[in-house]
């Protein structure tokens, strides 16, 4: 091949590669726009006050999403309250007491796997340990299932954030004779506060949209219920049930529920990002 021919072909493959990578980015962004666009279009057309004030309707009539919204809020809040302390404590051990311990390495590896493990398996696990022995589906089981998803997220961010706290801060406190647990609580936690909060918010965002672990733990409930010892309704499960139904009203409510969930989740992750931004470049 002549020299000019070689140049031309190299330049050509370069142009092709650049074009393809621009096209790939456009496709990626386009998909995001497409999904959000449809979601907003379909969701908003069903959005009304009734959505927030009325119960889920029987097939073929109008209604709202009050009970699943309430159920989701309860399940999410309690799951975070249950999972966060455990996650923070475990992350504290890994970054403070046992930073170089063998246990920490093992836990980190396992935790990272749990972080991306299929959530439906968590649902099966909780079914086995709670629903089956208790003999009925319950809100408690749903809370435990969601908490099991919260824990790895919080463990990961807590450890990451505590490791970023400068050792000199701890050494200064040590030199004053402060006991370790007080250093952790008053120095490390305070320095890593924003980052740890980010982790909790990410965990909330993650479980607000989780459906699979709730399907056979909290199940669903067509009526108003705040009794956690009984099946309880949640937004994702209602979306699942209503979207797959043949009824137009239900499908519309599914879209509206999907819109509410997505707005909540995206808002949470954007707030979390903004919080994390000054400390770490994520």
């Amino acid at each position: 091949m002549s020299v000019t021919g070689l140049y031309a072909s190299r330049r050509r493959s370069n142009t092709i590669a650049i074009t393809l990578s621009v096209a790939a980015t456009v496709i990626g962004l386009g998909w995001l726009v497409l999904i959000l666009g449809v979601l907003f279009w379909e969701g908003f057309s069903g959005l009304s006050l009734a959505v927030f004030t009325e119960m889920t309707p029987p097939p073929g009539s109008a209604g709202g999403l009050l009970n699943p919204i309430m159920g989701s809020l309860m399940l999410t809040t309690l799951a975070v309250l249950l999972g966060t302390p455990i996650g923070i404590l475990a992350g504290t051990y890994m970054a403070e007491y046992g930073r170089h311990a063998r246990l920490t390495q093992v836990v980190r590896f396992i935790n990272d796997i749990l972080l991306s493990a299929p959530s439906i398996v968590i649902g099966l696990f909780v079914y086995e340990i709670m629903v089956y022995p208790m003999g009925h589906f319950s809100g408690y089981a749903g809370i435990v299932a969601l908490a099991l998803i919260v824990i790895p997220v919080v463990v990961r961010t807590t450890e990451d954030m505590l490791i970023l706290v400068p050792t000199t801060l701890r050494e200064a406190a040590f030199a004053l004779g402060m006991p370790r647990y007080r250093i952790i609580m008053h120095i490390s936690y305070r320095a890593a506060r924003a980052g740890m909060l980010t982790g909790v918010l990410l965990a909330v965002a993650r479980i607000s949209g989780e459906t699979a672990p709730l399907l056979f733990t909290a199940l669903n409930n067509q009526f108003w219920n705040t009794n956690l010892n009984a099946p309880i309704s949640s937004l994702p499960v209602v979306i699942f049930q209503f979207a797959l139904s043949p009824y137009k009203d239900w499908q519309q409510l599914a879209w509206t529920g999907a819109l509410i969930t997505t707005i909540a989740v995206l808002a949470l992750s954007i707030i979390a990002r903004a919080l994390a931004a000054p400390g770490k470049q994520t």
Binding site: S21, W31, V121
Partner: protein, 339 residues
């Protein structure tokens, strides 16, 4: 009074707590209390860390326990038979396993090249001011709950594929050997291909963001040297960046694969839930997670439930292996960057 050699410092700490420093007994008591609290907190945190391991152990034990009936009834046949019949109580896992693997394969075939190209764009071509916003936008795709992908796939993507894409595919490949079986059958819209497409969109952000991070970690001097020799952007990416970042890229791909294998809700909406293996990728099928999600609450009889839990166990084992490999590779990259 036993000397610890640190009395003055201890006094400062004690004063900080409002303790009376002159009283030796009170001082000893306070010290002992502090020591006790510290040990308690230490053990508490260690207990929480161990709890993470207990959770994993518990998941495995519970799944094995739950699937024991199916394991003892069907034995290894469970892994090789296709029949899934609640009436005759004959269950085999090969169809859902096949569906899981094929949908994930389709997803990876689409998402890996797309993800690599987007990462390339973000690290080598994109203007600085746009890198962060575009990166965040792609990562937002990861934030959207999977149920949203499901409802979108069912109401928007599946009808679109049914009307516009699948007839074209059937028409174009109808007379080509091999491809004609791949695209055989009526265009349902829902099916294996649709599920694979949805999965591709869902794992794209995971692959993109990890690939971008490892691309960014390539030392600029290596790229500059190649550019200095007169290499084009593509040649630098292909011959310098990609080989250097290979381990991290594979780690990111495996992480995406782990997600794709275990993804439940989005797939459940569009897979069609048919317990059979068909050669055509536009035919309905099922995956492990979709079978569990669809059938678990309606499963009647111990053996049916147990078979579904056995499916969960298989899924957990597969994803565990894939994710373990991914984490191992990514940890290797991190160590390399750290040193």
């Amino acid at each position: 009074m036993p000397s610890t050699g640190r009395e003055p410092v201890v006094d400062v700490a004690l004063q900080g707590q409002g303790a009376f420093t002159g009283d030796t007994v009170a001082r000893q008591r306070t010290l002992a209390k502090l020591k006790f609290s510290d040990r308690a907190f230490h053990n508490l945190t260690r207990g929480a860390a161990i709890l993470v391991l207990v959770i994993l152990g518990g998941v495995i034990v519970a799944l094995v326990h739950g699937s024991w009936l199916a394991i003892t009834t069907f034995g290894l046949d469970f892994l090789t038979t296709q029949s899934w019949n609640p009436v005759t109580e004959k269950f085999g896992a090969i169809a859902p396993i096949y569906g899981t693997l094929v949908t994930s394969l389709i997803a990876m075939l689409i998402a890996v090249p797309l993800g690599l190209l987007i990462a390339l764009f973000l690290t080598e071509l994109c203007p600085m001011s746009l890198r962060r916003p575009i990166g965040i936008a792609i990562e937002l795709l990861a934030g959207i709950p999977s149920i949203i992908y499901g409802i979108w796939g069912l109401f928007i993507l599946a009808p679109f594929l049914q009307v516009h894409v699948q007839p074209a595919l059937i028409g174009a490949f109808g007379n080509v050997p091999i491809l004609s079986t791949l695209f055989a059958g009526p265009p349902y819209g829902i099916g294996v291909l649709t599920a694979g497409l949805i999965l591709a969109i869902m794992v794209l952000p995971f692959i993109t963001s990890i690939t971008r991070d490892v691309f960014e970690a390539v030392p600029p001097v290596l790229k500059e040297a190649a550019f200095g020799l007169g290499c084009t952007t593509w040649e630098v990416s292909r011959r310098v960046v990609l080989p250097y970042a290979r381990v991290g890229v594979i780690g990111g791909v495996m992480l995406g694969l782990g997600r794709a294998l275990g993804e439940t809700m989005a797939v459940t909406f569009v897979i069609g839930n048919a317990h059979k293996i068909s050669a055509s990728i536009i035919a309905p099928g099922t995956t492990i997670s979709a079978s569990i999600a669809n059938e678990f609450t309606e499963a009647v009889g111990d053996i049916y439930t147990s078979s579904l839990i056995a499916l969960g166990l298989i899924l957990f084992v597969i994803t565990f292996i894939v994710l373990a490999i991914a984490r191992y590779l990514l940890a290797r990259v991190e160590r390399k960057l750290g040193s």
